[in-house]
Symmetry: C2
Subunit: 362 residues, 2 copies
Amino acid sequence: MASIKDVAAEAGVSVATVSRVLNDHPSVSADARTRVLAAVEALGYRPNAVARSLRTDQTRTLGLVISDVLNPYFTHLARSVEEQARALGYSVIIGNADERPDLQDHHVRTLLDRRIDGLLVSPTDGGSPLMLDAARSGTPMVFVDRWIAGVDVPVVRSDGRTAVHDLVAHLHGLGHRRLAIIAGPAATTTGRERVEAFRQALAAYGLPLPDSHIGQGDFQAESGRRVMERFLDLAEPPEAVFAADNLMALGALDAVRVRGLRVPDDIALAAFDDIPWFVHTDPPITAIAQPTGELGRAAVRALVDRIEGRPPESVTLPARLVARRSCGEPASAEPRVLQKPPVLQEATASAEPSPATNRSQS
Amino acid sequence: MASIKDVAAEAGVSVATVSRVLNDHPSVSADARTRVLAAVEALGYRPNAVARSLRTDQTRTLGLVISDVLNPYFTHLARSVEEQARALGYSVIIGNADERPDLQDHHVRTLLDRRIDGLLVSPTDGGSPLMLDAARSGTPMVFVDRWIAGVDVPVVRSDGRTAVHDLVAHLHGLGHRRLAIIAGPAATTTGRERVEAFRQALAAYGLPLPDSHIGQGDFQAESGRRVMERFLDLAEPPEAVFAADNLMALGALDAVRVRGLRVPDDIALAAFDDIPWFVHTDPPITAIAQPTGELGRAAVRALVDRIEGRPPESVTLPARLVARRSCGEPASAEPRVLQKPPVLQEATASAEPSPATNRSQS
DNA sequence: GTCAGTCGTGTAAACGATTCCACGACTCAC
DNA sequence: GTGAGTCGTGGAATCGTTTACACGACTGAC
């Protein structure tokens, strides 16, 4: 593969001049510039990013470590991150932790070894020594969706409290009193927060949340199935179940179906994180929708601000309830979305709140 | 960040010795080794992968350019690719082409600039000059799922012909005679092949496939919706529609629903590519399932073989029909999968054909 | 005609690793 | 005791860039 030396020889100039042309440095004559460009063309030369990175100490690359690629929420997030990064001239390397702290560490280590310019993380746990070290030692870093307390890292996330309250109001309005939750891992902020928000909302209606109605899941489908089975085995099973993410909701739906029961007739179901498929499940599933695309874009903006020396901004955006039929309402049609079902709007992010609003600084 | 020089100074040896310890080269004394290891520990030293790559001319990184990350099929593929690559000591950088040739080229170029060791591609089109150049100039490359004719690059894919034949038999058995297809882009092999297989299978039953019953889609949901609308507007709409991928099936389902019609009562629907959500849609969707995980793993094995100087092997694995209720059968339960619904099995790939079988060399 | 300033260019030193080669200190066979 | 071989080590070149610095050729003011 042709190097800058070959180009220099072909153009009859020094490598310094070639480099200057490539980085369009002003002080190079028009003549030299055209000769270099011709040589570049002739040889099909492409600069070696590895060498360039070594010299300049920057890779123009962002690392993104997410908890689970198979979760459509994170896939969507990853896509918007890549899009925004590309717009700002950065590449993204994705590491999939699969909700496993050891895998998460593996990816963080690999990304750090590659000297990425900054790291976007949605932590799977409370923070390994490695991650804490990275944060404290000044690696540009931003948490997205989930975060770790006690480190000085901006957080871009959505606040589901209001939406969870709306959900409980919705369930209460439909006559459900015995409510249960399939929780995420307590080591994650989203795992804890969603339970907490649910508990507070229930309290506002004078409803209890006994321990038997808090099932411990791990954000994966299999755990949703397991917890739902336990709920159904109870002497007095819950009337409505709230799954803290979409995969556990899917598992829960499996469990209900295997028993030959029906949603919402036998048991109501709702989920955190709305995804296009929820419109088409049997029945369509009531969910809390995050402004996923905007979350990804805001996270990249914050990280790039940090990398380029501007003060990064923490961002919190609101989530909203999308009521469908899985909790029992004789729904007329798809709510809120009048023109087209969400599936197609998700792709263009037009259904999301406007970027300019709902910011809060921290 | 500490460099190898700092470690050498700390340990009181030369950088050469440090390097030897790091790459566990045999000729280094036990004493020197422990001193170096202690210094590495003390300084929290991690080798700079950028510098290492420049020197050794290898990055131990694979590029994966896929057509659309939002498509669960490709997400699953990407995950299995990363898993297998990690097992073989490689990292993976994913580029999402979003079915856009220009974006695909962008990613190929970026990956090449980074001097990845090899490229896994599921081409969005018939092959841009850039991609053809890369293939011909000897970049280790393997096509997965889709391929480009006329270049000497191994292909790892699945053959859906038998499954498509089974599908047509299934539809015919249910009494459907007017069949239609929502095709993928003719520029892709999968786009063409699926139409071709469908046409041949119809011919075997003496059924016609008029042009009005071939809708041109682009593998995205919106196109599925559009084509389905056209089908429904026909004087004599088809009785059954086969979507060439899962996203177009989703769009088609939208279109049917918006008209207030029902699947399968008013129109039957089947899709290429099975995904966990199809079990829970209303109705559950009949689909052709590829051995996605094994495809990803085989592709990585082939690419790494090529990179490390062994002769790479093209692989073709069979796809299979998974009949559900969307074509009209009064299905008793989930077919073939008796213990658990596919959603949980997908994650562990246990439902896939064994890796050892069904190979074909090319 | 001299001198200061500009402009375009080239030389060479980094960046952080790997690896070839040379060399000194041994061991061991004769 | 000498010579050959082994072993551990360090010096230095190298990978492909960027960039500080020096320098020669101009220009233009005095």
